[in-house]
Symmetry: C2
Subunit: 448 residues, 2 copies
């Protein structure tokens, strides 16, 4: 008997518990993501949850640094040599990738395409829709010295493959380019790097604060108001992809800008060759992405009917993955899907099919008298790859049927006598009796 305080039984704030229905939906989402990572040849690596603090510190900016959890043994054994002061939990998959590539450079073949789907931990202030532990699904392609722009195009086709199969509604991958945006900022009169960086952060908030506030903020940040208004005009113009490329091609700002325009055109050509339908992507010059390290292509992805979910898959091109760890130049491009946040928001909004609370579709009901027949039937079904649960408790058949319906099973089978079974289909209420030799085939037909 115990008096364990009930409030301590709940999951810690920001660290969600997923029950069977949510965990099954999560597994389904991850299966789809993994399938499309694999279809394009992104192979997994597994780095630990735990890295040395020096490694994490080498790449953690101010805000992130304040969110790193260090480890310490709570009750170290006496005389134990303790190295745990140097360990901390990973806060993303990019730092571990950089460390891994720097450490294993000699064994890797480039371009190195890697996928990872796993938890990261950040000591953020917990709030609605934000988690301290969440699953991130990332792919990155890393070059040794250089990496062609077509890798950037491939990212768009992977995103399109995933959200097409997840079937959570029409979506658009927005493709931007930092060099193009920075060129436009220079055109608008900003030449100071710090001012450009601040301007990118302002533009990143366009959807939140609106165009007028962006114009005002850019003005405060050293841009002439007419230029600021004209710039925002250009950024927000709705154009077809081809018109956008034609418009940009006609602007002569400077070399870096024109390089960005060429990259954008190559990415679009690659995306088209990869068969991504025209309505699933767009050139969007306003994408800035907060992170400092993107240098070329940048992506965001929105559900057309649910922009309020924000970007559901983001990423971009960076010049140098592992400059903190090695002097080798390793340019890369990557995307990241915040799986936990996406799943739980989709489930809440009813946009992703909430699963039943069981992975099995068939319940074999049984009583003490016909347990052997029930177990044999289960073995036969499982042998044919049909997931089934055998009810092995002591409740009467009626209760077992209620249990099956509550859990969301499609069918209940119960042995009628040694040579026949009763099958109950919940959707139709249909009840049929069949001979034992016909069991497997009938079930397969009913499950469709």
């Amino acid at each position: 008997m115990t008096a364990f305080p009930k409030q301590l039984l709940t999951n810690p704030s920001g660290f969600p518990d997923l029950g069977p229905a949510e965990a099954i939906a999560l597994a389904r989402m991850i299966d789809v993501i993994r399938k499309h990572f694999e279809l394009s040849g992104y192979s997994p690596i597994e780095t630990p949850l735990v890295e040395r603090t020096e490694v994490l510190a080498a790449k953690a900016g101010g805000e992130i640094a304040a969110q790193i959890y260090g480890l310490r043994l709570l009750h170290p054994a006496k005389g134990a040599t303790s190295d745990e002061k140097d360990l901390a939990l990973r806060f993303d998959h990019t730092v571990p990738l950089a460390r891994f590539v720097a450490a294993h450079y000699a064994e890797l073949l480039f371009p190195f395409r890697r996928s990872v789907i796993g938890p990261v931990v950040r000591g953020e202030r917990p709030q609605e829709g934000r988690y301290r532990q969440f699953i991130q699904a990332d792919i990155d392609a890393i070059g040794d010295g250089s990496l062609t722009t077509l890798h950037d195009a491939e990212m768009v086709s992977v995103i399109a493959g995933i959200f097409n199969e997840l079937a959570i509604g029409a979506f658009t991958v927005r493709i931007g380019n930092r060099k193009v945006l920075q060129g436009l900022l220079r055109w608008a009169g900003l030449t100071n790097d710090a001012l450009v960086a601040d301007a990118l952060k302002i533009i990143d908030r366009m959807e939140k604060i609106g165009r007028d506030s962006v114009v005002a903020a850019l003005g405060e940040n050293g841009m002439a108001e007419t230029k600021a208004r004209e710039l925002v005009e250009v950024l927000l113009l709705q154009r077809s992809t081809s018109d956008a490329l034609a418009f940009l091609g006609a602007q002569k700002i400077d070399e870096l800008f024109e390089e960005g325009v060429r990259e954008l055109a190559e990415v679009v050509a690659g995306v088209r060759a990869l068969g991504v339908p025209e309505e699933r992507f767009t050139v969007d010059l306003s994408i800035a992405r907060g992170l400092d390290y993107y240098t070329g292509t940048v992506y965001e992805t929105r559900l057309d009917a649910h922009g309020d979910l924000g970007s559901i898959a983001s990423g971009g091109r960076y010049e140098d993955l592992a400059s903190a760890f090695t002097s080798r130049k390793l340019p890369g491009v990557g995307i990241s899907i915040g799986v936990t946040r996406l799943l739980l928001r989709l489930l809440k909004a009813g946009l992703f099919p909430a699963a039943t609370t069981t992975v099995a579709r068939v319940l074999i009901a049984s009583t003490a008298e016909n347990r052997t027949e029930a177990l044999r039937a289960a073995a036969a079904l499982r042998g044919a790859a049909i997931a089934c649960e055998v009810y092995l408790g002591s409740k009467p058949l009626g209760n077992q049927l209620q249990y099956a319906e509550k859990r969301g099973f499609m069918l209940t089978i119960s042995p009628k006598d040694v040579s026949s079974f009763t099958i109950h289909t919940f959707a139709t209420g249909q009840k049929i009796e069949i001979a034992a030799p016909d069991l497997l085939q009938t079930i397969q037909k009913l499950l469709g």
Copy 2:
């Protein structure tokens, strides 16, 4: 340019890095385990990596308590309310399950079958074959007040399904029963609970220290030497399952012993009804399992030809899952597979097929001239669920072929002109040319 210390780039001791070949093999192993968990209707739940320290402390014994990693923010933001002093990393999946079931009791349907495959962390002294972070794959069936013995039988059929499909060699699930073993200890003269517990630990080391040392140790532990010798004789006798049950049925020691014998007979009958072949399981009276909380059925699993790997799947029946957290009686039975340790030992011993370093089987080679054709071919293959990588670097075709062979691709395809492709099969050295419309069908045939 950087001078990051090279020795800090390696993974921290006990926290392994898995490169693509190992990570692909891990994914394959987990897929098989998950498939068999699902076939028998064990649904996933996801609890966090992090639990409150009070929760972990409530169920952690002395040795484990010294291995718990607590969390603390390394650089907490000023003024941040800090609750991280109460958080620590989970060291197994059983404590989180107990907390989850106690917290969510009202929403759950019993018997509650749950699966989990995920990492746990222990601050053990790192040594060969031991890890501080490792993946454990568990299933448990939890009853509300009671749970029939056939659930114990189902565990054996799940283990058999997994290792049958993993195809790592003949294996035997050893089934024991704590009540039977304790009865035999009482028969041998041990009636004191502490002495019985110590005797179980001694017997648990039978394979390590040998029968003579066990007899000696039991003698030091208060058992008459003739009884000790006779007991060890009985424990080690090789019998068929039916003979073992008949032998035990004939012994009249006391009520608890006879209850254990009845349970063992029920488990064996269930295992047979579930279609597990007779040579895949055995009654083994010597299985003690170190853990105190097992009260009935206990399991170990050995590879017949590689007993040195130790038990590759273990578990048992416990009287009360969550007595630390709730006054409800929640008996259960479960098994656990130490996936990381098993995988890395099997890979080292060459018992599990070391995968290639790519999830894709086809490389589409291409140069700047025929990139569009290559990308279109990739889209066609992916649309038919064939994983493929497009080489998008700038090296000549010869180098791309070398790259493909090193990575372990089966085939390389390269666009020959706008309307035909060359296919190179590595295993045979065969090189064929085919027209574009025949590409998909030919590839499907070649991949088999």
